[in-house]
Symmetry: D2
Subunit: 366 residues, 4 copies
């Protein structure tokens, strides 16, 4: 199961950067979910580059449903989603197809695929393939709202600029939900400057994203191999730029005492809550009803315009590489909506597993 | 797929803390692998508590193979591994079965299983269930050595005491491989003091483990959903105490520039290596031949002997809890061998997927 | 996924004929299902040989639950089921371990497992392993009765003796449900004579089983790859003796006209039924609410006491074999309860997939 | 896993009859397989109707690869295959969308999908969706030829006209391989007359297909749940018209004696063969090196031009239906190439599982 994720809600991915079309098949969502094209457009717009600080590759992201949608509702069969690639410039890649871009998959894919891989624009490894994932995620995110489940993210860090953590979810969610540049504090300008500075120095910069899932029912996730952390982390590390994940206090636990970080349960207004949420809403792999909070470490985009030492793997010699093309000096902002989409797929899958195939339509019909 | 992990090499887990026996079924390993009982014993001994600083629950960890082993070799059919539970003190739990131990799964499992779960000693959630995982992992780790693949770990941090990172793998591996208290620097005493101090204050303490997989062939892992990071992280978050994972530089990427952390490829003595290894041996989800290095954030064990506020979920009231029983003030050291075992299962699975069912026997036969 | 079946309700199988114990792990059934030991005993008794006409190997079939059962109810975690092997006579096999019993898996397993397989008593291939499957199936069959779903079978044919087809399900089900020798007409004596005759001639005899699933809700199964026929047939062909399956009219369709065998729908007492049931309760891979009816072709047991020509695969020469040991001259009757068990697992899985994890407990709680 | 089949070689299906495009994603085949478009065309032509005796719906079956093919070879990433639908006449269906065509999935899908399914032309249930399956199968069949593995089929029966069984595979395979109307004896005219007769009476007719897989290595398939019979039957019952399957002697075993049907092993010219092949090349679920032979029962197409009694499920009343549109009076011939394609997918999956991901390219490279 290589290009497939999910058990009861599955996503199959296909495509390469420089072919005319890419897509996904989303299967198992159930019949009767209304497709909200405005919300899909909104999510796609969040994935598009801000050409001031990001790549200048412009894609209109035209998409269509091949199947599984009829009269604007899901039919219950597999949903084929196709996105057109328009702005293809393969020439940028032809003269470096023998060189391993440092930090990229050129070398590993050359070996793995015995040289048969489509190297143009990163081929199957291209971030372009996250576009149909965003569309699938938008459909599922919208469906989750029937349960009042919300998935949000904000840019926690770019280089040396930090946003604050989530505090009061009721307020904070509205600050960042579906925003183009989601931050809780007034740090957008500083962050953009950090990116512009990196770009002006022909360099790139990393960052951190914090996500939250609100209003999850108690009981999602399993002990051990299908823990909520396992399922979410598996999905998040699908993204090439993600190199770390932590739930709740995460690496902050390493130097902590149990007495300080155990989250005490209390009844509050008839509901069970925990006073603190260091465990990020998960106990023993299972959601406890508190917000599920986790952060992702995003590495700086490896494509930089500086000259770099590397190998020519076709000729077996050391060489240098000068990467041309259009690249993001920082991919963090654009990953926000993609990581939300993957999170939605995980949560949708777990809800369908728990409540059955028609969980979303049932909500519609009621 | 709740208690099952793996695709071509699968592990099925069953058992509860206070039943007479627990076990796993390991399937897909192939025929003709010699079972090394000494190595299994060594691995089990590393999971046992050091009663000076850890729990005083003593288990002889008697195990037997139900199936799949004949004349000391694997037969090719599913391997049933059973471990006896001996030192059971259920009384410690009877009077708190209505109280949610903070940081534990009591509340989530009560809701998830509608009160039918076996609550004694944590039931199915008990760390005791990692014992048969260690046995399965020992078999696979040994099989991996046919490929010269080694999986090691060391305690990177306990509270405020840090070990150094891996540096020269050729030397460092021998320092920590299969050690009871694996550290690279002379920090064992300090770390033990940190633990003893926590225990003496009826408290617990967290830490960090760093793992490395050496001599992986290039090409393991897939782009996207079955990336090497995805598969490893899914396995690691099977462990209740793990709350974060980072590969290579991990969260250190967040404030880094691409020019500083891209790992340049070079040919060195005819082999492709990278000068640095910030990506932790993985590019685009695929192993690049460098050591795969990752770290785990381990939370302090939630069972502490201090009085804690919590809820009585059977009676729906707020209450306090005093946990009795025998508990580890720090679980970090004991998780080392368990996380190695799960890593071995992931790598074994990927090797079988890449090279076929008989990958390990072929090595034997050659 | 070799020794595992199911998606949301999984069964993992392990064991060999001549080891002390064999077992299964049943996972995903949900919490709160009452274990009915009397019903398990009844099902086990149906699998036991009638020593007059079948094997004289006597097994008391002592079993125990390792896990997943607490206070006589399922806990929601994986259920480990162990059955003891008592009546082991490995000596019967030692002197033929180099000979391929015709119709058996000796040769294929010798090649597949490179000679490492446990050959004693058929090893992992032994029909003995169906014992824990019967136990798991008894639990699920009982759980299905909450939905009024019943799974029954009868011996449709032994050699040249035929039973009639199901006709009036309301009456017929009671005739055969959970019977030791389930037949609809008075053909038991004739069938037993057919078996005794084969045995007296040191031979064996085949037969046919017809199964029915009653009161399935409309909508189980999927178009294409997870059609109800696909899922059932995959499970049935798990049994070594099964060499054919047909649904409804089955091979009778080959010479039929559509106008004669299309099942017309009608409203009858407010319910949708079909006038005939040639499609065996399945349209387009999905249950239509009519009884799901299918038949299995069972080959004669290959172990016969006649001298047979075969190969000595260790020495690479042609040879003859004289099989000793205790063998069934006809396995058809004993497969009835096993095929019901596997059918129950398939249906249980589909119900959990459709209605969610807690489908069975919900029924309990209502 | 609803629209997905396979473990290491997976096929994901999507599409509806009356949308502009349908397709599959084929994943896991490995890099470096040459795409043979002529062979794909040949396979597609076998699926096309012979308008004299079959449907007059004409489709040019234009297809394209979205992904996974570069420079006419597979790249190793997922292969997206799209086929255009051209000849769509939805009007034929609008006035019967409330009526359950007997033998079809109209009623079951209406209930399963709560009325949201795309009913036009059978929607997702249409035989039209087998077109991309044929393309995927053609790629895999061609790849299998590297191992000299051949998959062939012939029409064993149409109504009351029978073809003979396979006898001498060396000769027989050449008679039927890739033929438009594959029969071993001179029965094409008689079979066509049988079809024409049914059509002239506004009726349809069933039949039987026999398939053979030649030159399989010993050792494919697993005991129990992934037996070769299990995997093949699961795939075959994906096809709506298939209602029975038998391996080797199949239902002929029911009245047979072991002494007559056990297949004796012998060494013949240094190779292990069986004198007879009643077990259809499979012992204990595992291929034994003999041809794997199995037959499929195909029901008469349920769409007939006679008036039929049925229900109006939207209005809850009994009614009659007159089906218009273009339909095959017999689907048997067209299913030949589709069942070969699905068989190829199963065998390809098992070979990849046994020999590893690059099994096909290795053959190329050698």
């Amino acid at each position: 199961m290589r290009n497939i994720i999910g058990n009861n809600l599955t996503l199959t991915l296909f495509g390469e950067s420089h072919n005319p079309e890419i897509g996904v098949v989303l299967d198992g969502l159930g019949a009767g979910i209304k497709i909200d094209e405005d919300y899909i457009s909104l999510c796609l717009s969040r994935r598009k580059p801000n050409s001031m600080i990001e790549t200048s590759r412009k894609e209109s992201d035209h998409y269509r449903f091949f199947s599984g949608v009829f009269n604007s509702c899901t039919t219950g069969s597999s949903i084929g989603i196709i996105v057109e690639n328009e702005n293809i410039k393969s020439d940028d890649y032809d003269d470096i197809s023998h060189l391993a871009r440092p930090g990229h998959a050129d070398y590993t894919s050359f070996i793995k695929y015995h040289g048969y891989n489509d190297y143009r624009g990163g081929g199957h490894f291209s971030g372009r393939l996250t576009t149909p994932i965003v569309i699938a995620g938008a459909i599922v995110k919208k469906a989750l709202e029937k349960f009042n489940i919300k998935i949000v993210s904000h840019i926690k860090q770019i280089g040396n600029v930090n946003d604050r953590d989530f505090e009061d979810f009721n307020k904070d969610i509205n600050l960042v939900k579906d925003q183009f540049f989601p931050v809780l504090d007034q740090v957008q300008n500083q962050m953009e400057e950090e990116i512009i500075k990196a770009r002006s120095e022909f360099d790139s910069i990393g960052g951190k994203i914090q996500l939250a899932i609100i209003n999850l029912p108690v009981g999602l996730g399993e002990p051990y191999f299908s823990s909520l952390e396992s399922e979410i982390s598996k999905a998040m590390f699908s993204l090439g730029g993600v190199k770390g994940i932590e739930f709740g206090l995460g690496f902050g636990f390493c130097s902590s005492r149990g007495s300080k970080v155990n989250d005490s349960f209390i009844y509050s207004e008839g509901k069970v809550i925990t006073k603190t949420n260091n465990n990020g809403g998960i106990n023993g792999g299972i959601s406890n009803g508190m917000p599920v909070v986790f952060s992702l470490a995003i590495k700086p985009t490896p494509s930089i315009l500086k000259t770099q030492k590397t190998i020519d793997f076709k000729n077996g010699i050391n060489d240098v590489i000068n990467i041309k093309g259009r690249h993001d000096p920082c991919i963090v902002r654009r990953i926000c909506v993609v990581s939300e989409a993957l999170t939605a797929l995980v949560i949708g899958d777990l809800l369908i597993t728990k409540y059955g195939n028609d969980v979303f339509i049932k909500e519609n019909l009621d």
